[in-house]
């Protein structure tokens, strides 16, 4: 029951809204913007937290959690299946390689980093295609139809997009792991912090939950060339910079592939330019499936 509602997400360290990441986001906001009380006041105001868009986020979070638990996770091809298939494939196609013996620390460290980086790269490209491929944009609109932002907006994603991102994870983590097993054998494991990938943990701790908020936390310019700040994702949600900052944690993909925007604080308007959304649950689920009907 708890699983169906998504409430367990608050106590699992591999989830974005894990309580510790929420607390750290709040602390960062309070400490950094202590001299600008208006900013915090706005985030916790009724017009942001009780906006029809935010209310949809909350209902949506519970509804989509149930969809994920009942439909998506059981049916989705998992990373496990990809790994087994791929290791056997590698062996049969490229022959047998003598296991490379390296120290555990290097093996586990490089694996943890590579999983994180590879995942971040495939997230970048899938996210970019969600915007540039018209058919995919129909589904990704659901996320961008949010007119106000709060951490739960992260989960305002159409189930079709969930499936695509889930498959992407299975393929990415599966391929990296299969390659590691092919070359290094057993003995790989993830460097973890409280049960999450070390790098995911650190990234989540430095304000990931502020990405979907009205708190314009920026990192120093030099840092923003490597790691996307919450503010850079807020720019992505604004009506003017939708085709920029597709990245998740690292900004190098945006930088190398020409979609990075950093810097100056601007007055932002979130949401879609061409539409006044109705913020209905049914509409969010069904509208992308049929362009003609608006619920």
């Amino acid at each position: 029951m708890v699983e169906l509602s998504g409430l367990d997400f608050f106590v699992e360290s591999d989830k974005r809204i894990y309580w510790l990441y929420m607390v750290s986001a709040l602390m960062l906001a309070v400490v950094i913007f202590r001299n600008q009380p208006d900013i915090l006041r706005k985030q916790f105001s009724k017009e942001v937290l009780w906006h029809p868009s935010a209310r949809l986020d909350y209902v949506y979070f519970v509804a989509v959690s149930a969809v994920k638990v009942l439909l998506i996770v059981p049916l989705l091809v998992g990373a496990d299946d990809v790994i087994v298939w791929m290791v056997v494939f590698l062996q049969e196609q490229f022959g047998y390689v003598e296991r490379i013996r390296i120290a555990s620390v290097w093996l586990v460290g490089s694996y943890t980093l590579l999983i994180f980086v590879a995942n971040d790269l495939t997230r970048y490209w899938l996210h970019r295609w969600m915007h540039t491929v018209p058919l995919l944009w129909r589904f990704h609109r659901v996320h961008h139809s949010a007119q106000v932002l709060n951490p739960l907006t992260f989960y305002r994603v159409h189930p079709v997009e969930n499936v695509l991102f889930g498959l992407r994870y299975a393929l990415t983590a599966g391929s990296v792991t299969a390659l590691y097993i092919y070359f290094f054998g057993a003995g790989i494991s993830m460097m973890q912090m409280g049960g999450a990938n070390l790098f995911v943990f650190v990234f989540s701790l430095i304000g990931a939950n502020l990405r979907h908020s009205h708190i314009p936390l920026r990192y120093p310019a030099k840092v923003e060339r490597w790691i996307l700040s919450p503010y850079q994702h807020q720019l992505h949600h604004s009506v003017h910079y939708g085709f920029k900052n597709y990245g998740s944690a690292l900004s190098v993909w945006d930088r190398w592939f020409g979609t990075l925007v950093a810097g100056k604080t601007r007055k932002l308007r979130f949401g879609l330019l061409d539409e006044t959304p109705t913020h209905s649950l049914l509409g969010a689920f069904l509208n992308p499936l049929n362009k003609g009907i608006k619920l």
Binding site: F9, S13, D14, R16, L20, S24, M27, V31, I32, K68, V73, L76, G78, A79, D80, I83, V84, V87, V88, Q91, E92, Q93, G95, Y96, R99, S104, V105, V108, R123, H127, M130, H143, F154, V157, E161, N162, F165, G166, R168, Y169, A170, A173, T177, I181, G185, A186, G187, I188, S189, M191, Q192, M193, G194, V200, L205, I206, R211, P220, H233, S248
Partner: protein, 370 residues
């Protein structure tokens, strides 16, 4: 302003990290896998596996020593019975080696033992024609030991050629053994001397090692690695390539690619390998790696693994003649196809159990967009 911001940021993070409960503490032991066995089950499993490895290493060493002793008693020309007895002893020695090889974790604990297997037999390693080298040494005059200067000429593979020729009939073999003042018999002893030294190293390792039983994570990894390795080579090299099922020789079977085609003992080698898998994974009266994995959440996979092992062994028992004779030109006995499929599934299941242990099941965070 900027510096102030970074400072507050760092401060906030430091406070947070310090505030993390113990469940969020960085788990260093998990990272480098220095997990000492704690439960009686873990200890029992590790000591049982050590005993199994020790038993085979000792048996291998003994079979070699025995064969050398037999050879040292020959004064006159060898009779057909004596040659045949040597051939039988070869089978014992070779199958004992297959048992050691199928569970060879020693290389993970002692670097000096990494190359030992390639000093013991020569299969699927490079383009050396061991038989031709040995024949050349036999055809020469002068000291046989220096004529067999190549390491590969002193392996089980070489010994097989010395004792069996190329599946040469026994009466002809007797003549060859006695030729040139029993040069071939002396060659056998040169090879056996090398094998004895190699087997000795392995036996000493298993008798003295304390590292394997001291770390359950490393031991499990070593066992998983060796089982996966061994099942792959069994399926692909020992069954798939001779029968032309493997991609490399698709549709081009050749019974000479069997591991022990010259002695027609390839089936016995396969059986020894599978029996070792059964000792490690199968249902036994003692607590082995299989029962350990089963108790640790891999129950259904272990059941499936056990079934594949016994299915494969049962298939081997269905061959009434040497497996080499099950390939005739391009026609391959259907039992070999089944054997390939069974061992392929066995290897797949080993991977499945390994990956289950990694627990990488899709995290939902990764199923969300941004």
């Amino acid at each position: 302003m900027k510096h102030k911001m970074i400072k507050s940021l760092l401060l906030a993070l430091a406070v947070l990290l310090a505030g993390c409960g113990s469940d969020n503490a960085y788990d260093g032991t998990e990272l480098i896998g220095s997990n000492t066995p704690t439960t009686p089950e873990e200890n029992a499993m590790l000591s049982v596996q050590t005993q199994v490895f020790q038993k085979h290493a000792t048996a291998l060493k003994q079979s070699i020593t025995q064969m050398r002793q037999s050879i040292s008693t020959f004064e006159q020309n060898l009779t057909a019975n004596e040659v045949s007895s040597l051939q039988t002893q070869f089978e014992t020695l070779m199958t004992e080696w297959k048992s050691v090889e199928a569970g060879y974790v020693a290389a993970d604990y002692d670097e000096s033992l990494i190359d030992t297997p390639s000093a013991i037999d020569f299969f699927h390693t490079g383009n050396v024609d061991v038989a031709a080298d040995v024949q050349k040494a036999l055809d020469q005059t002068g000291d046989i030991e220096s004529a067999l200067f190549k390491n590969s000429s002193k392996t089980i593979t070489a010994l097989e050629y010395m004792l069996f020729g190329t599946a040469t009939p026994l009466d002809e073999m007797v003549g060859l053994m006695n030729k040139d003042d029993k040069r071939r018999v002396n060659a056998c002893d040169v090879a056996l001397k090398n094998l004895e030294a190699q087997a000795s190293k392995i036996e000493t390792f298993y008798q003295n090692d304390t590292k394997f039983a001291a770390n359950i994570t490393d031991a499990s990894n070593a066992l998983a690695n060796v089982l996966i390795d061994s099942s792959f080579k069994l399926k692909e090299w020992r069954i798939g390539e001779p029968s032309g099922i493997a991609l490399k020789y698709a549709g081009n079977p050749d019974s000479n690619r069997f591991e022990y085609a010259k002695s027609k003992r390839s089936l016995e080698a396969m059986r020894a390998i599978l029996l070792t898998h059964q000792e490690i994974m199968g249902e036994q009266s003692y607590a082995n790696f299989g029962s350990f994995a089963s108790q640790n959440g891999a129950q259904s996979v272990v059941i499936a693994i056990r079934k594949q092992i016994s299915d494969a062994l049962a298939l081997l028992n269905q061959f009434n003649t040497p497996i080499e004779e099950a390939i005739n030109g391009t026609s391959v006995d259907a039992k070999i196809d089944t054997l390939y499929a069974t061992t392929k599934e066995l290897q797949r299941l080993y991977y499945e159990s390994l990956i289950q242990a990694l627990s990488l099941t899709a995290e939902i965070i990764e199923a969300d967009g941004d």
